[in-house]
């Protein structure tokens, strides 16, 4: 009927997609085949499979996994309890508000909190444990990351809990299920989609957090993100950086497929 109008809108939009979605991915893959002097090579891929890079990849995944698990463990009860409060939209807004504060400022706050004379150490002192080196450790890195990501986990879980019809829960209770069985057999399975999208929203960024790793963990934690940043901006070895980026893209695609909700 109006095939001509369609084309008019499509032109700028498709142009955007080609220029900023397809071209960058193609370029990253293309650059991964070149060494620092600009010669075609497969060496980058060979280098990626050496223990140094494999260990880094593994540790990056391990940290992202830890961050996701802690987020989930803390966020699920929070979301569940939030749905039972009176002014839930207001509480939800209060959960979202900290995400509007710049991530770097939050990281900077933890520089002070975990500092040698900061409140975290003061707390340890009063508990009788004594002063410890907290900053530039894996602990502070994971803690700060969980702090930053937790709203992104709470939100989708809260939404799926809200969508859950209370009559399911009532029915389970009427049929004699204990609260725990109700949770395990009814509530949790029905909110699995929210959990999945929460995990996705945490795990993928957690793989690539280079600024947190730099600020909070010093150079103790090296993630895929830190490696990419270093190759692109410090050593200028774009080829190797692109190779790591290619693997990060592949990992991302796998995670998306695994956690993709069936709709």
């Amino acid at each position: 009927m109006q095939s001509r109008t369609r084309n008019i809108y499509l032109i700028p939009y498709v142009l955007w997609i080609v220029l900023f979605v397809i071209a960058p991915i193609v370029l990253v893959v293309y650059y991964s085949f070149f060494d620092i002097e600009g010669h075609f090579t497969l060496l980058n891929y060979k280098k990626f499979f050496t223990p140094v890079y494999l260990r880094m990849t593994l540790s990056s995944f391990w940290y992202a996994f830890l961050i996701t698990v802690f987020c989930l463990l803390l966020a699920y009860p929070t979301a569940l309890l939030l749905t039972k409060t009176k002014h839930k939209q207001l509480w939800l807004l209060l959960i979202i508000l900290p995400t509007w504060v710049n991530l770097l400022l939050k990281a900077y706050a933890f520089l002070g909190i975990f500092g040698a004379f900061g409140p975290a150490n003061a707390l340890l002192e009063t508990l009788g444990i004594g002063q410890k080196q907290l900053l530039f450790t894996d602990f502070s890195f994971v803690f700060t990351s969980v702090y930053i990501f937790i709203p992104f986990m709470i939100l989708p879980i809260f939404n799926s809990l809200e969508e859950l019809s209370p009559s399911f829960v009532d029915a389970a209770r009427d049929l004699g299920a204990s609260p725990w069985t109700t949770f395990r057999r009814v509530i949790f399975p029905l909110t699995l989609d929210g959990v999945k999208s929460g995990c996705q929203a945490v795990f993928i960024p957690a793989l690539s957090l280079f600024m947190l790793a730099r600020l909070i963990a010093g150079n103790r934690v090296i993630t895929l993100g830190t490696a990419i940043e270093e190759h692109f901006l410090v050593t200028q070895d774009w080829g190797m950086g692109s190779t790591i980026a290619v693997f990060l893209i592949i990992a991302m695609a796998i995670i998306m497929i695994l956690t993709g909700s069936r709709r």
Partner: protein, 268 residues
Amino acid sequence: MRAKRKLANVYLIVIFVILYAPIFYLMYYSFNSGGSMHDFKGFTLEWYKEVFHDTRLFIIVLNTLVIALLSAAISTILGVIGALAIQMLRKRQVKNSLLTLNNVLIVSPDVIIGASFLILFTIMGIKLGFISVLLSHIAFSVPIVVIMVLPKLQEMSPTLVDAARDLGANRWQVLSKVVLPFITPGIFAGFFMALTYSLDDFAVTFFVTGNGFSTLSVEIYSRARQGISLSINALSTLIFLFTIMLVVGYYFVNKKTGKSNGMGVRGR
């Protein structure tokens, strides 16, 4: 039962305290005359004075705002066009693949976007600086606007357009008098989201900023790497107040436009 309820409340309170403690901690020490983030020596506004006298910082704040407003405006236009384009497609498969491509930039980690844009700009011969930062902010905001506008377009009954056409409206009139007013809440929401994404972005900007041009996030990062300085605290207090104003503004815009269209109830 009551004990359980109490325990639940305690848990929620602890979570909220942890969420807000670092932010208030930063703000509290911005008034410390002691110069560090422990031992509160005395009240001072010295750090705020320092922030307001810092012309370099002032220029950076201006840069950040200009980039945010420009990129939000341009990406809103592009995003609305994109949403209209997707909406008009008939074939499901084409529609879905376009949507998938649209979402690539939303789910990609920032480092990947930054690194690939760095390659792109270098190849295209665009000098790193204002233009490259602006272009990349537009690029990663467009899909968000599309996502915010598309549901409103899908909500709109096609009979509205048909009626306008029957009554003799031409294509431009249908768009400007019928379609755009209907999707206005979505457009506003998209604009605000684009604005906050741009203001909040660090990683992508960090890659494509080059020397000489800086935004607030990049500046905070480079200052924080040098250690603690209470002028960052003062700055963060100011930013936090600004953010709250923005949130409240967004909330009211949403509420106002939402009421007239019965939005707000849906989608939650």
